[in-house]
Point group: C2
Chain length 255, copies 2
């Protein structure tokens, strides 16, 4: 037994999709979440500033005594996980490796697509892991810079979203699986799967939750805590939509 | 003669549209620009954090000895201009008042539209000024939360942009004039004027530049300085596109 919480952080509210998956699989774990909504998005910024922000987010969680730190953010997991790990004296988990491992095991000679923020796709993080775990797997990827703003502004369906999604995704063809490499993207899954009806969409949060379930010492619950660095326009609505009910957001500075 | 520079700041790169208008009208003025690209966008965040960021941006310019501070950002001008003015011992200019005054004088009994970020539109800043300057003017407004991300991601034309723009703008009908209440929006002017061919689009930077020309003591030039808090993906390209040529961006922290 280890009664300390699981610390989860993200550039904003998207990482709650990961928190929701962890709660589903591990209902007895207490979660302390930090979303850096005062500085979201990360995925279009330079790597240096992403690493600086990620270190601050991690320190926020470490101050609150957690047994593990989860970077519930495709961008941070792709370009700053080593920086986060260097801060932490507890295990650090990103969302890239568990999803890449799942895809590689299921489609070792298949065609796997990856979509993410520009930072994530440019880093090649998923592609490198996939070719390590499954050297014969073919990887195709596409940056989707507008998906995070679309989700944050609550625009999850409609013709404009479909057009933008189709523009990003059409060049990938019809892969066996598509890794939703940003934790905001599961909210656009209905639009994406309408474009790729034959493709398995891989939710990184789900893969990560399974890994945590197998590796972490179980806890015994406690009230979750959800911190954000700003409550902006639409923050509460989006948080409730993801968590399927009221979420008591507490504002706190990352620094 | 006052050889100090004009200080110009914005949440990011959009304020360069204002800097460009100032340069056009006042080629002998030296400009010191600060774009807070490490924390852009401001317009979807809460008012408290916008005011905190704006004060820091202003202090950045004051440290460099300027004769005036221009908040080249519709959001800051709408919700934080008093906070900026409280920091500064030089005149502070926002982009709302000169544009509202221009529209009110030209269409005192007309119909004036305002588009801006959610923060700007919710503040009612333009509407309040318009009804003060022209009580019989009818004001209609619409928040356009995706316009800043569209511009920042370089998506300035195409079917998806047209659809999003039409969704935002159609409810305004066909006003006599439309104030582009965010300094990113002039980059979308071709798309907007295609939707509203009879409407005069008002560029807030142009109105502000005329005010500066009439109020400031003239300078005698000097090399402009363009600072940004992060050089993200696409920052350089966007800066060059707005300024119509190479811009030497220097990274510097707001704090």
């Amino acid at each position: 037994m280890d009664d300390r919480a699981i610390g989860v952080f993200d550039s904003g509210i998207g990482g709650l999709t990961v928190a929701a998956e962890i709660k589903k699989l591990l209902p007895n774990e207490k979660i302390i979440y930090f979303g850096d909504t005062a500085r979201v998005p990360y995925g279009t910024r330079g790597d240096g500033i992403i690493r600086e922000y990620a270190r601050q987010d991690c320190r926020f969680l470490l101050k609150r005594s957690v047994k593990a730190v989860v970077a519930a953010c495709g961008t941070v997991s792709s370009v700053a996980l080593d920086a986060v790990a260097a801060e932490a004296d507890v295990p650090v988990y990103g969302v890239t490796e568990p999803a890449a491992r799942y895809a590689a095991e299921k489609y070792p000679r298949g065609r796997v697509g990856v979509i993410g923020t520009p930072a994530t796709v440019e880093s090649g993080s998923f592609a490198k892991l996939l070719s390590r775990f499954a050297p014969e797997c073919e990887v195709v990827s596409a940056a989707c810079p507008l998906f995070v703003p679309l989700v944050e502004s609550g625009m999850l369906s409609g013709e404009a979203v479909e057009l933008i999604a189709s523009e990003y995704i059409a060049p990938l063809g019809s892969p066996d699986a598509l890794i939703l490499g940003c934790t905001h993207f599961p909210l656009l899954a209905p639009v994406i799967s309408a474009l790729l009806p034959e493709t398995e969409l891989i939710n990184t949060g789900e893969c990560l939750a399974r890994l945590l379930a197998s590796e972490l010492e179980p806890g015994s619950g406690g009230a979750d805590e959800y911190y954000v660095s700003d409550i902006g326009r639409g923050t509460r609505e989006l948080a409730c939509r993801i968590m399927g009910g009221e979420v008591a957001l507490i504002t706190a500075s990352a620094e």
